[in-house]
C-alpha cells in the first residue's frame, strides 16, 4: 500500500483494541446512502518508477526552448545550493511555526528574510510573504484603504502601465468589498505615466496611488515626482517593484520626499524557478507606523525565559485564527518554502551579486534590442529608459509572429495585444543574465527568418 506502513497483523491488533470487526465499522456514523461507490475516473495506481518515467516524458515535451518572455516572471540562474538546502526535510516538511521552540529554524529564516526585504526596499518592516506579486498588490490595496487616516475613500488609482495580470488579480480579489479601482492612462510615446495624466485627479479623495517600477513595459517611471504628487494629494503610495532591480534602482523607501508607504512585488526572481507561475511568493514591506494594518504572518525577535535570543510569531491579533471575521485578511499561510529559497539566494548573491545580475540583465536586453532592431521594420515602441524589458514593434501581427517563432522553439516574448487594445504588433521582450551572445543571435536569426517568410 503506497505510503501506508500497516501490516495485516497491525490492522488486526488495532481493530481489536478499538473493539470493532472491520475498518468499515469505523464509518458507521455516516449515512449509508451517501457512502462512495468506487471511483471511476482515477486510474490504477503506479509505482514510483513508472510515475517518474511518466513525469519525465511530460517534462521533456516542454523542454528545450529559448525563453525571452518576462512579463513578471524571470529566468535567472539559481545557485545549486539554494534548492539543495530548501529541499531538506527539516524545512520542507515542517508546518507553520506555531510551536516556536520546535520551529526556531523556520522562524529565524523568516526574520532574516524580513530583514533582507526591508533593507532591499529601504522600508521599515516586512511581513513573512504573501502568495505572489499579483495577490500582494491586492492585499496592499486593501491595506492602504485601512491605513490611510486622511482619506475615507475606498477608491484607488492604478496606472494601466502596471502589470495587467496584477491588475486583474487585484480586481478579482477586492471588488466584493465595495472597492473601486480607477485606471490612469499611460503616455503612448514614452510608455510611462506622466503627471499630466494624474492632474485630473488632483484634490480628489483616493486612498492610494499604485506605482510600478519598472512598469509592465520595462519602462522607468519618474517615481519621485509621482510619489510626491500622491502625498500632496493625501494618497498613500503603493510601490510595485522587481527585487532584482532594487540592487541598482532607487528603492521605494527613497522615492520622492517621504518614500513609498507600502512596497510589494513578485519575489520569484530571487531564486525561484519559473515553474509555470508558482509557487512564487509576494513580498510586502511598509512604514513602521502602519505595521498593524499589514496582512499576513510577521516574526519578531525576543528572548526566552533564560534571556536567550529567540524568534516567534508576533502581532497575531491581526490574523484570522484570532480575529476571525475582523482579521486584516483571510490569509493564514505564507509561501514559506519559496521565501526560504529567496533568503538563501539573497545571502549567496549579496548586494554586489544582485547588482551584477541586474546590470547583466539590463545590458543583455539592450544587446537584444540592438540586434532585433537591425531587422527591417522592427523598432522599439516607447522612448522612456528601461531596465531589462522592452516593447518592440514587428511588421505584421505579433500573435502570428510569436506562433511562428514557437515553431522554431523560440519563446519570443509576451504578446502585448492580449492585454492592450490597439497594440497588435507589439511584443514585450526580455533577456536576463542567462542569455549569452549566441542565444541573442539565434533569436535574431529566427525572427528575421519568420519575418522574411
Amino acid at each position: 500500500m503506497p505510503y501506508i506502513p500497516h501490516t495485516d497483523a497491525d490492522i488486526q491488533a488495532m481493530l481489536e483494541t478499538i473493539g470493532v470487526d472491520s475498518i468499515d465499522d469505523l464509518f458507521d456514523e455516516i449515512p449509508a446512502d451517501i457512502l462512495s461507490q468506487p471511483l471511476s475516473q482515477v486510474p490504477e495506481g503506479i509505482s514510483e518508477m513508472e510515475a517518474s518515467r511518466l513525469m519525465a516524458d511530460r517534462a521533456a515535451a516542454d523542454s528545450n526552448v529559448a525563453c525571452f518572455i518576462g512579463a513578471g516572471a524571470y529566468e535567472h540562474h539559481i545557485p545549486a545550493a539554494v534548492w539543495e538546502i530548501v529541499g531538506r526535510g527539516e524545512f520542507m516538511t515542517a508546518y507553520t511555526p506555531y510551536q516556536a521552540e520546535a520551529s526556531q529554524g523556520t522562524l529565524q529564516v523568516i526574520y532574516e528574510y524580513q530583514s533582507m526585504m526591508a533593507h532591499l526596499n529601504a522600508m521599515d518592516v516586512s511581513n513573512a510573504s504573501l502568495y505572489d506579486g499579483g495577490s500582494a498588490l491586492a492585499e496592499a490595496v486593501l491595506m492602504a484603504i485601512r491605513a490611510n487616516r486622511k482619506s475615507k475613500s475606498k477608491k484607488v488609482l492604478i496606472p494601466t502601465s502596471v502589470n495587467p495580470l496584477y491588475r486583474s488579480a487585484t480586481h478579482g480579489i477586492v471588488e466584493n468589498q465595495g472597492i473601486s479601482i480607477e485606471e490612469v492612462a499611460f503616455c503612448s510615446d514614452m510608455g510611462t505615466t506622466p503627471l499630466s495624466a494624474l492632474e485630473h485627479y488632483a484634490g480628489q479623495d483616493y486612498a492610494a496611488l499604485v506605482i510600478q517600477q519598472p512598469n509592465f513595459f520595462g519602462c522607468l517611471e519618474d517615481v519621485h515626482a509621482l510619489t510626491d504628487w500622491a502625498h500632496a494629494n493625501k494618497m498613500l503610495v503603493i510601490a510595485v517593484v522587481n527585487p532584482t532591480s532594487l540592487a541598482i534602482l532607487a528603492p521605494p523607501g527613497d522615492w520622492g520626499e517621504a518614500g513609498a508607504d507600502i512596497s510589494v512585488g513578485e519575489g520569484q526572481p530571487l531564486g525561484i524557478p519559473l515553474s509555470s507561475g508558482g509557487p512564487y511568493f509576494g513580498f510586502m514591506c511598509c512604514k513602521q507606523g502602519i505595521v498593524r494594518q499589514m496582512p499576513g504572518r510577521i516574526i519578531g525577535r525576543t528572548v526566552d525565559l533564560e534571556g536567550k535570543e529567540g524568534f516567534t510569531l508576533t502581532l497575531q491579533a491581526r490574523e484570522q485564527h484570532i480575529r476571525r471575521s475582523k482579521a486584516t485578511s483571510n490569509i493564514c499561510t505564507n509561501q514559506g518554502l519559496a521565501m526560504t529559497a529567496a533568503t538563501i539566494y539573497t545571502s549567496l548573491l549579496g548586494a554586489d551579486g544582485l547588482a551584477a545580475v541586474a546590470n547583466a540583465s539590463a545590458t543583455n536586453t539592450q544587446t537584444l534590442v540592438a540586434a532585433l532592431t537591425e531587422i527591417d521594420g522592427v523598432e522599439t515602441v516607447f522612448a522612456a529608459p528601461y531596465f531589462h524589458e522592452v516593447v518592440i514593434r514587428v511588421p505584421g501581427n505579433a500573435t502570428d509572429v510569436l506562433a511562428k517563432l514557437a515553431e522554431r522553439r523560440v519563446q519570443g516574448g509576451f504578446d502585448v495585444s492580449t492585454a492592450y487594445a490597439g497594440m497588435d504588433d507589439a511584443i514585450l521582450v526580455c533577456a536576463t543574465e542567462t542569455k549569452n551572445a549566441a542565444d541573442i543571435q539565434s533569436y535574431k536569426v529566427a525572427l528575421a527568418d519568420v519575418l522574411s517568410a
Binding site: 505510503y3 501506508i4 488495532m14 469505523l26 464509518f27 456514523e29 449515512p31 468506487p38 482515477v42 495506481g45 503506479i46 510515475a51 519525465a56 517534462a59 525563453c67 513578471g72 516572471a73 534548492w83 538546502i85 527539516e90 508546518y95 510551536q99 521552540e101 520546535a102 529554524g105 523556520t106 529564516v109 526574520y111 530583514s115 532591499l120 521599515d124 502568495y131 505572489d132 506579486g133 499579483g134 532607487a250 519559473l274 509555470s276 507561475g277 508558482g278 509557487p279 525577535r301 525576543t302 525565559l305 536567550k308 529567540g310 516567534t312 508576533t314 502581532l315 471575521s325 483571510n330 518554502l337 526560504t340 538563501i344 548573491l349 548586494a351 554586489d352 551584477a356 546590470n359 545590458t363
Partner: protein
Amino acid sequence: MLIYESSQPGRRAKSQAPANTETPASIPASLLRKQKALLPETGEMQVVRHYTNLSRRNFSIDTHFYPLGSCTMKYNPRGAHRAALLPGFAGRHPLAPEVHSQGFLSCMYELQEILKDVTGMKGVSLTPMAGAQGEFAGVAMIRAYHEARNDHERTEILIPNAAHGTNPATAVMCGYKVREVPVLDNGDVDVAALKELAGPQTAGLMMTNPSTCGVFERSIKEIAEIVHEAGGLLYYDGANLNAILGKVRPGDMGFDVMHMNLHKTFATPHGGGGPGAGPIGVGERLLPYMPTPIVGKEDKDGEETYRWLTDQDIPDTIGKLSAYMGNAGVLLRAYYYARVLGREGMHRVGEFSTLNANYMMKKCEEAGFQLAYPGRRATHEFIITLSDQAKNLGVTAMDFAKRLLDYGYHAPTTYFPLLVPECWLIEPTETEAPDALDGFIEAMKSIQKEAEENAEMVKGAPYTQPVRRLDDVKAARELDLVWKPAASEE
C-alpha cells in the same frame, strides 16, 4: 547567530554572480540607488552551513511524529518533489505558448478530472493558491450566482461556531455578514437553531465535515436541505477531506462548492507554512463562475491537445486570483501523488487515517485522558480536553504540549476548536505506523505522571529545544522585526 552577524565587508560567493558589469548609462542617475542595500556579505560554504544548521532547529514530518490536528501532516513523497523540479517543469515560463506546454497541461487536465471524481463535483479549477484563497473563490462564486439571479437580499453567510477562523474572515472579504450557528454538546450542528437562522437573507453556509470537532456531521443531509430550501448554497471547507477520501464525496453530501487543501490531502509539503494549493470544485449551478484559468482538452485532427480556458470560454467567471495559474509546482506534486496512489490508494487514505485516529483515541481513553466527544467515532482526528489537569494540577494543555516536545513529538493542535476548553486536536494521518502512535501515548502517560508529581517541572517545559519558552509579550510590545547594525540602533 544571524547570517547578518557573520557578515564580513567584501566577502563574496564569487561564482554565483555574473562578472561585474556596469549599469547601462541610459538609466538616469536620479532613478538609481544611492546607498548599497544592507544584505549579508558572506561565502558560499558559509551560507550552506548557516542554513543547514538552521534547518536542524526544526521539527518536521521527516524527523518527528507531527500529529497536528486539522493539518494532515502526512508523509510527503520525495518522488513528487523530484518530479516537480524536472527541468522541463521547473523551467517552464507561465506564459509559455501552448505548443510548448502540452506535458504540463496534460498533467493539470488529468488532475482536474481526478479531483472531480474524488469530490463528486462537476467542475474543478486548480488556480487558488491556498485553502483560504479557495474559500475566497468559493464564496465569491456564491455571490456571483445570487447576483446573476438578481437576488440581492442575501447578505449573510452561516458558519458553525466551531469553524476555522478563515471561514468568517473569508465571508467578510466577500462582502458578507457572518451569522454563527451553535454546535451541540455531541459535536453536531444545532439543526433547530439552523432552521431559525436560515432564510431569505442567507447566501450560504460554510462548513467542514467531518467538523473541526473531529466527528462526522450526522445530520448533513438535513442541513443541506434546510439551506437549499432557504435558497442558499453550501460551501464545503476541505480541511478535513483526508478523513473521507474515497469513502464519502462532498458532492454526494449536498455541497455546491468546496476547496481541497492539496498540501494536506494530497501530500504536498507544508514548507514551514506554505506554499499550499487550494483548488475548488463546484456543482452544476456554479460552473459558469469558476475562476480562470482552467485547462481544457480538445480533439484536433484525431490528436488530443490541451489549452487554457479563459474569460472567452467562461464569460461569467469571477476572474483570476493570481497573475498566472496559482501554485503550479504544488499541483504537479499532487498529480504525481494521485497517480501513485491510484483508485485503491485513495480509498485507503480515508480508511487508514480513520483507523489510526480511532486507535489513538481508544488508547488515550484507556490511559485516563478525557475525550471531548466520548461515544462518538473519531474521524481522522479527535479531541481530548485537559481541563481536569488544568484545574486540579495547574498544568494546562499548553504545558502538556511544550513538555511533549521534550519527548520528541510535535504537539497536536492546541486550543482549537475554541469551544472545547484546554483541548488538543490530534490527527495522526495514515502514514504513521502503530508503533509511533504507541510511543506518543506512552509519552502522554509519562507527562501525566510528571504533572501529578512535579507540576512546576512540566510548566517550565520545554528543556531540550534550542530555546525555552519565549516572551511573546515582549515580542509584541518591543517590536523587533528587522535586523539593524549596532551603530544605527536607536
